[in-house]
Amino acid sequence: MEPTTALPLTDDELHAVVDGQAAPDQITELKARLLADAAGQEKLAQWQAQRQALRSLHQEVLHEQVPPSLQQAAQQTLRVHETSGQWRRQVGMAASLLLTFGAGWFANAQWDAAAPSTANHVLVARAQLERDFVRQASVAHSVYVPEVRHPVEVTALEQAHLVQWLSKRLGKPLKVPVLAAQGFELVGGRLLPGDSGARAQFMFQSGAGTRITLYIGAVAASDPALAKDTSFKFETNAGVPSFYWVDQGFGYALAGQVPREQLMALSQLVYQQL
């Protein structure tokens, strides 16, 4: 740039150079213009010296031991934060299970600072419901899968009737997922009693004779706060490996003695179709 045509730097431009708050090529350009700006150069030098002096002012405070009163104040803050942190982590755990939060619960519990224990209570209660649901699915699986003559009440031959019947009893339009892509065909289904009403079980079988069951039912119909959507959760402690999830107030558990990856793939097929 021709020095004689260069404009003097504005204060803002000088600040940007002093504080390094511009892109490197901009700063290079500004410094080039500065060559023709004696007053700017002087100001720049002064401001740079100021900045340096201010940066070393009271440096020793940075290395001093923090006074006990301040440590205490920080501890107090930390305690509050830990409490809310634990509670947030629990909510976070739930959030990893939950695909969506119900707006009401969100407003009432999550941000209600006074009610962390309520939120905690909800989480504990929900975990208990989940365990119960998965356990019941597992029991139903274990009872009916070995059955040779009556594994199902209504067979796949009467699929339309089966779906209509179970939909009516569960109070929700059901569909039978197609799992042929994973090599499983519908055997049939049955109605079962659950904690809070009717449950349905669909049974599928692979060409090799492996059976898996899909257990469906309303969860916590009495307390909607406990029936939040969840993502897939793999459960092996209930006797038979299963994937469990909640979608729109209904719990689903897909159980079977198949590898986890295959069970996951099957669960995704089910989830996509229902």
Partner: protein, 185 residues
Amino acid sequence: MTQALLVDQIPSLRRYARSLTGDAWAADDLVQDTLERACSKWRLWLVGSNLRAWLFSVMHNLFINQLRQSSARTSMTLVDIDDVAHDLQAHGTDPSAGMDLQRCLMRLPPEQREVLLLVSMESMSYAEVAKVTGVPLGTVMSRLSRARARLQALLDAPAVSAALLTSENALPSGVTALHRLKSNH
């Protein structure tokens, strides 16, 4: 994670408060108030946002409130610089330079002092300073310009005239030592 972060902020909050108030005790009071306020307002801090900037804005609000209260009650007390000279000199590598700089800083209007310190000492971006102090970016830039120009004038002024400048502000004649303002908080 945030625990370590919070504790990590205390030294820089102390140094900033020290430079802002010019007084070790007032500074630690301000930091204490900041931590306590942070405690009660903790949920206003959004997880994942800038904890440091948030703490500085909490401190800014407290500092401004204190100034307003003090000027309303006209309870600013004048402290003879000789009484606190040991404070200012403590541990400094170059006590006279540090003392002089601090003295000049105290003669800047508080809002200019804040901006200058946040930018220079705390290396905050102009945008961050605007957020912390709750003013538009343009105001930050003009305060910074005025602060730097005024600080330079103060630093360049011979000590005697600086003393005269200070005493003409508020002091009865006959007081020869440098004076500065100290908040009651």
